[in-house]
């Protein structure tokens, strides 16, 4: 009985609860419905937005939202310059010749006489945009116990009107090959002409300022002027205000059809030398003599490059012809010193006119293989030493050299080359040379010039 009363009481109580929550429930339901509605609306809006974003039809939107797919990386090192390193070395078979040089030409340094295995200078290249106005580049050539600043310059980006300004240490824009570093050469060594003109580095490097102007025409016309220290051969370093050397260049170029492109140029280089020392042989005594030249040196260069590729696509097959000619005149005074003939130094006038040329063709016959031929000849020309002609031996000779090469590239970044050459650059000597060379480019390797 007690049990049923309790049950009834419980029932009544629960009914009361029920009655109270019915009203609440309705309110809650209404709330939920409200929420559901707003969420549905929101979801619909979102879906619509998503569909708009996904579909390519979002054309009416004004701002293009660049969708960066890769996460943006922020590292302090992100602003580091582009770094690349060139590894170059070779095995070389050649005759052992003391004081290797070019007969009839004043040496600009020691000739290449390294035989067997050797590693060339390792080039470290650092380059970057400095700010919106300038770009900088440094090339350090490292060898045992030394690091030479090969190039260190900055270049304008923001002048406009076709004007380009470069200052620092740079490879002069004269000729064609001069601006190219050894790893871009098509043969393992520089043409005799460049060795005769500029010595063992086979390129003219200037500390100074270069101004270039590109004409606003469909035909490529580029004019350049350079002034600088002029410290390198054929000039010498001097302790002076003002400039020691200058150059003027003009290059033109264009395409012929879609398959051919060419560039031709003419350049003039002027340098001053002060007591530039060169080795000679005594006329009478036969011993070693030294001649010190002080005066002006003018070099004229003509260069021409023609490139062909089927449909303009050099990746599979291409042909490149290049040729250059130079003529040099030097005028000034020569001081002869030696043990016998010039026991007391003898001054005389000095006037030379010399010339030379090379021509080469390189054919890429598969994406990986190339083969090339080069022929070159120099003319020691006229060498007028005034009264010192009686004291020094004046050679007259036409050095010649013929080279053939074949190279293989695994990729754009690695190459191995076999070269054979018959070198008659020294009077009475025929040197048959064999070179196996490798060139490896590591890192952010920059674009090459035409």
């Amino acid at each position: 009985m007690q049990k049923s009363i309790a049950m009834a009481a419980l029932l009544v109580a629960s009914c009361g609860v029920n009655a109270a929550s019915d009203a609440d429930l309705a309110a809650i339901r209404a709330q939920i419905d409200e929420m559901k509605k707003t969420y549905e609306q929101r979801i619909a809006a979102l879906e619509q937005k998503l569909a708009q974003a996904e579909s390519p039809a979002n054309t009416e939107k004004s701002a293009p939202a660049p969708a960066a797919s890769s996460p943006s990386v922020t590292r302090a090192s992100a602003f580091n310059p582009e770094v690349s390193l060139i590894l170059q070395g070779q095995y070389r078979n050649a005759r052992n010749i003391e004081g290797r040089g070019i007969t009839g030409f004043v040496p600009g340094g020691q000739g290449l006489n390294t035989r067997g295995f050797s590693v060339d200078e390792t080039e470290l290249i650092l380059a970057a945009n400095i700010d919106p106005y300038w770009r900088g580049q440094a090339i350090v050539a490292m060898a045992d116990g030394q690091a030479n600043i090969e190039e260190a310059w900055f270049q304008s980006l923001a002048i406009g009107q076709g004007v380009g300004l470069k200052a620092g240490r740079y490879r002069s824009a004269i000729g064609y090959l001069n601006e190219q570093h050894p790893h871009m050469w098509d043969f393992s060594d520089a043409p005799l002409m460049y060795q005769a003109m500029f010595g063992e580095d086979a390129g003219y490097v200037q500390d100074g300022v270069q101004l270039k102007w590109l004409a606003p025409t469909a035909l490529f016309i580029e004019l350049g002027a350079e002034v600088g220290r002029g410290a390198n051969f054929p000039g010498t370093d001097r302790n002076n205000n003002g400039t020691g050397g200058g150059a003027l260049t003009v290059h033109i170029g264009d395409d012929v059809g879609v398959a051919n492109s060419w560039r031709a140029g003419a350049s003039w280089l002027k340098t001053r030398a002060s007591a530039r020392t060169a080795d000679f042989v005594e006329q009478v005594g036969g011993g070693a003599a030294q001649g010190r030249f002080t005066g002006d040196s003018s070099t004229w260069l003509a260069d021409f490059v023609w490139k062909w590729a089927p449909q303009g696509n050099p990746a599979h097959q291409s042909f490149k012809f290049q040729g250059e000619y130079f003529r040099r005149e030097e005028r000034g005074a020569l001081t002869c010193t030696s043990a016998v003939d010039c026991a007391t130094p003898i001054d005389s006038s000095y006037k030379t006119r010399q010339s030379g040329w090379y021509a080469q063709g390189v054919f890429r016959f598969t994406p990986q293989w190339r083969a090339g031929l080069r022929y070159e000849q120099l003319d020691s020309g006229s060498r007028d030493f005034g009264i010192n002609a009686g004291n020094l031996v004046v050679d007259s000779y036409r050095p010649k050299k013929a080279s053939a090469m074949v190279d293989y590239s695994w990729s754009e970044f690695s190459r191995v080359r076999l070269q054979i050459a018959q070198d008659k650059s020294m009077l009475g000597i025929t040197d048959n040379q064999l070179t196996v060379q490798y060139i490896m480019s590591l890192g952010a390797h920059g674009a090459h010039k035409f």
Binding site: P132, G162, T217, D254, S411, E412
Partner: protein, 298 residues
């Protein structure tokens, strides 16, 4: 003589004022797109054609001369032109088109890029750090780039803003209609497995839902070797491909060799405008690409 010089200067300045916007496009697809948008208001110079490998162009004198005069340079970007464009830009003496200026436009910046490598190492070949640059073979990307390009052209040449916007709208509506057609036509291509010469078709395959099961180049930019091709033949038994694709500028040898050994068709795709006789414009490029793929499927 003085008069002659004066005449020349006047002639030059008049010449400069003629075309409203001089555009230098590195690749045909973006040159054609700029022409679609700009119509008669722009003068477009295209640096390369469909028969040239865009990775392997040289900084020719003619390119420098053209870049010197451009107001707007359109590049694909993502390092596609790294072997020549930086040099052309720097030696052009043209401050307007340098990187970071409004006159420098990189198409890849306006789309979702695929294939961005997780590790940057040349042991993986000539990889592109910013992802695969061949973005134009997904027609949705063409529209995105077109939209961004229109904004840029308006920014550079506000006087012709209305013409550029109208040009783009006309192109976009035609393009969307065409795209619907291509998607319908290409339905049978969904899920089809293919081999490719180089990773030039990543965006195309992604758009059409096709599957790339291998590349003839062992690594990007490395020429196909016989060893690698033989390896692909072995893989063909496990994961068979239905056809092998190459672009007009790629050599036919490797894909024909694979086709000969397996019996699958070697399909030449135009890759860009001008790659085949049918690919006369961007519409023709996709019409022809899909027709050739469908033919390969039969």
């Amino acid at each position: 003589m003085k008069n002659l010089i004066f005449a020349c200067i006047v002639g030059l300045s008049v010449g400069a004022a003629q075309a409203d916007l001089k555009i230098f496009a590195t690749v045909p697809e973006w040159g054609v797109l700029a022409q679609e948008i700009g119509g008669s208001k722009v003068k477009v110079y295209t640096a390369t054609n469909a028969f040239q490998d865009p990775h392997r162009i040289e900084a020719k004198p003619s390119l420098l001369a053209q870049a010197r005069q451009a107001n707007l340079l359109i590049a694909a970007g993502a390092d596609l032109e790294i072997g020549w464009l930086p040099l052309v830009l720097r030696d052009s003496g043209n401050s307007a088109i340098q990187t970071g200026q409004p006159g420098y436009f990189e198409a890849v910046n306006f789309v979702n890029r695929l294939d961005a490598p997780a590790t940057l190492d040349r042991a993986h070949g000539d990889v592109h750090a910013a992802g695969n640059p061949h973005i134009h073979l997904d027609p949705r990307n063409v529209l995105k780039v077109g939209e961004a390009l229109t904004v840029r052209m308006v920014e550079l040449d506000a006087a012709n803003a209305a013409a550029y916007q109208a040009g783009y709208r006309a192109f976009a509506s035609k393009w969307q209609a065409a795209m619907a057609g291509w998607q319908k036509d290409a339905a049978p291509l969904k899920g089809v497995a293919v081999l490719v010469h180089h990773a030039s078709f990543v965006y195309l395959l992604n758009w059409l839902g096709m599957k790339e099961v291998g590349a003839l180049e062992p690594k990007p930019g490395i020429e196909p070797s016989s060893g690698h091709l033989t390896g692909l033949l072995v893989r063909q038994q496990g994961a068979p491909a239905r056809m092998v694709l190459r672009a007009t500028y790629q050599q036919p040898g490797p894909s024909q060799w694979i086709a000969g050994k397996t019996g699958m068709p070697a399909v030449l795709l135009p890759y860009t405008v001008g790659g085949t006789a049918e690919a006369k414009d961007l519409f023709g490029l996709f019409d022809d690409t899909i027709q050739r793929l469908l033919k390969g499927l039969q």
